[in-house]
């Protein structure tokens, strides 16, 4: 920022200085500050759009009702809480899947595709082999197949990255759409002349838990978050991931086989995504989806949302639980807001989610950097910062 050579003695008004690792206290303070800023901007937005008829408290209580149910109304609370639980768990699972890859600085933005491939292979089993097989065998095969196919879809870009340095962000992004079109093929083929694809026969569904066919999904998804926490923090493989992420060269000098770590980690990442897709098809949707519809019901678009969740939680898979619920609150809450107030019916939800995300993303700056303002010049007493500035 000292591009003007004439003024080298004059320190810029604001300088950016890197800080050490953020302490827990600072992390919490920064997050809270970001959320407050987001609340403020969203509040102004709500007041302007609602033309003063919608107060912020009113809007927040609508959002609360849409996510956690109307307080005191047991039925509404039961419906809403279960719904929030399964979608949060699904978002959590995908974020957990992305955590090891991101920690390795491998930008897997192909979770959508990996989920879809897992879901699709499970669906093929349910559709074509569902009736001719004993149920335990069928479920065993479904789980294996979705894990393997998700892993394969994740390993393909990893191999090219490991051996030829192919840009993984763009590769995984493109793989998403290939997967979507393959699923479209099966959707249209099975649908035939019907107006929509009917759900698969009930004998192929996952066995219910808590009276819900997606009960197991919630349990497995949350368990994965706990397992991944220990995998990343306490195991040798988790440590290798961290080293490769910090510096591939350091890892190489330390004797870590970087190629192996990249491929193995992406296999894990893809496998969890695939499992999520398989369980969603078998336990929750009992169906596959068509990509041209507004929301892809197999992935719910979470392959992309999870990227944001994983990054915001700083790869801490337990912290992801909180963020996944926050995103659910925003998504479902703004949906309810749109139902209650027509001014918010279309698009307003995404605008508010965007504002909150921008605030959190931008706020993270203050975790790693601080601003140093120019001090009043004391001719006799040259401060350390001034010396450094004139050196630069």
């Amino acid at each position: 920022m000292t591009e003007s050579g004439k003024h080298t003695t004059r320190e810029p008004l604001v300088r950016i200085v890197k800080r050490g690792l953020p302490s827990t206290g600072r992390s919490i303070a920064v997050r809270a500050g970001s959320l407050l800023a987001a609340l403020l901007i969203c509040g102004i937005y709500i007041l302007v759009v609602g033309k003063g008829e919608v107060t912020i408290g009113n809007a927040l209580s609508q959002m609360w009702n849409g996510t956690f149910g109307i307080p005191g109304n047991a039925r509404s609370m039961r419906i809403m809480l279960w719904d929030t639980a399964i979608y949060s768990a699904k978002l959590l699972c995908i974020s957990v899947a992305l955590a090891p890859a991101f920690k390795m600085k491998f930008w897997n933005i192909g979770a959508e595709g990996q989920i879809i491939m897992g879901g699709l292979m499970t669906a093929i089993l349910m559709h074509d082999f569902g009736s001719g097989m004993p149920k335990p065998l069928l479920i065993f095969l479904m789980v294996i197949v979705c894990i393997v196919s998700g892993a394969i879809w994740g390993v393909i870009p990893a191999v090219f990255k490991a051996y030829w340095g192919t840009n993984e962000t763009l590769f995984t992004l493109m793989m998403n759409y290939v997967a979507m079109k393959i699923m479209d093929y099966f959707y249209n083929m099975w649908k035939g002349k019907l107006s929509a694809l009917p759900t698969f026969p009930e004998q192929t569904w996952l066995p219910p838990l808590f009276d819900r066919s997606y009960g197991w999904n919630i349990v497995i998804f949350v368990a994965l978050a706990v397992i991944m926490y220990f995998y990343l923090k306490k195991t040798k493989q988790g440590y290798e991931i961290a080293v490769v992420g910090d510096s591939a060269n350091t890892a190489r000098y330390a004797g870590i086989n970087v190629r192996k770590v990249i491929i193995r980690t992406m296999a894990i990442s893809g496998a969890i995504c695939g499992l999520c897709g398989g369980l969603t098809v078998a336990g929750q949707n009992h169906n596959i989806a068509y990509s041209a519809e507004a929301v892809h019901t197999v992935t719910s678009g979470y392959g992309f949302t999870a990227i944001i969740v994983a990054w915001l939680a700083n790869f801490n898979t337990l912290g992801m639980i909180l963020i996944a619920v926050l995103i659910q609150f925003l998504e479902k809450g703004t949906g309810q807001l749109g139902n209650s107030f027509p001014a918010f019916a279309v698009g307003a939800g995404n605008v508010m989610i965007g504002i909150v995300l921008f605030c959190i993303i931008g706020g993270a700056f203050f975790m790693n950097y601080k601003l140093v303002f120019r001090k009043k010049a004391h001719p006799k007493h040259k401060s350390e910062t001034e010396v450094r500035a004139s050196d630069a």
Binding site: I109, T169, Y177, W311, G347, I361
Partner: protein, 336 residues
Amino acid sequence: MLSTILSWITRAILFGVVIMFGAMGETLTEKSGNMNLGTPGIMCIGGAFGFGCTYLYEMNAQNPNAFLSIFIAIFCAFFFSALAGALFCLLTTTLRANQNVTGLAMTIFGSGLAKFFGMFIIPEGVVTVKATFANRLFSKRMPVELGSGKIATVIEEVFFGHGFMLYVAIVIAIVMAVFLKRTRVGLNLRAVGENSGTADAAGINVSRYKYLATSVGAGIAGLGGAYYILDYNYGGWSTGAAGGIQALGWLAVALVIFAIWRPLNLIWGSFLFGLCYWLYNYIGVFGVRMTSAQSALLEAIPYVITILVLIISSVQKKRENQPPAALGRSYFREDR
């Protein structure tokens, strides 16, 4: 037969113009080292504001002026998209946020803002509104008559049967190619994208280049959105149209890779993508019959060839075919 092929080519060209704008904007952005995955959202913003402003103008003016109508559409699409690009740059360059995360958040925000703004304009209970006047201007064919022969018709249809934005897009692509390859400023910009630290040491203001490239790039991408609504979609805005722009936005990101970051390749690449995209409708030309299920697989072709280009260029390791080396990384001077 001939007319079928002609209509295929025409549709491919119309389609190509939309993603060419998006891809040109993204190319310029990526040359500065910023990978803006918010391009689909930004194109939505361009579409909504470009359409919305010119629609409001033609609704409220007694005698809408042709020049003003076009100017308002293009200016508003460019301006609001560029603002979104500047916001992206504020987060990634000044605040050093992760580019992928910021870009995806921008896509969510942009498509939401587009739908929200569109709904502001649409009267209650109406699904689609049309900017008829602006549509007539944007889809007006070039005034070229070449007689009635068969070859003359083909040339006329293929080269002159389109609205003016096609030619604007081609001119921008050529100018951008010259700018990046032959000018000092273009060289500096590429230096920023290849190695920001070296560029900084050479006295180039890295932040300023990133801001300008990203904002102008976003503005150009936004024109693609406006073109989508005002010509490709026959001037009609609906909430569904925003979804259509978003889907094409991802193809625009793919096209940048396919063209290995060269503006001139974007011209034919975009038409090739257009041919691929519409292939399912015209596959009968080759005497092949397909079910609607199989045609879904045809739609994957652009993505598959993009992957192939990505693989081939990285395996070959030719230095001139690589992505900008600092693509996706934030630059901080004190980092090593």
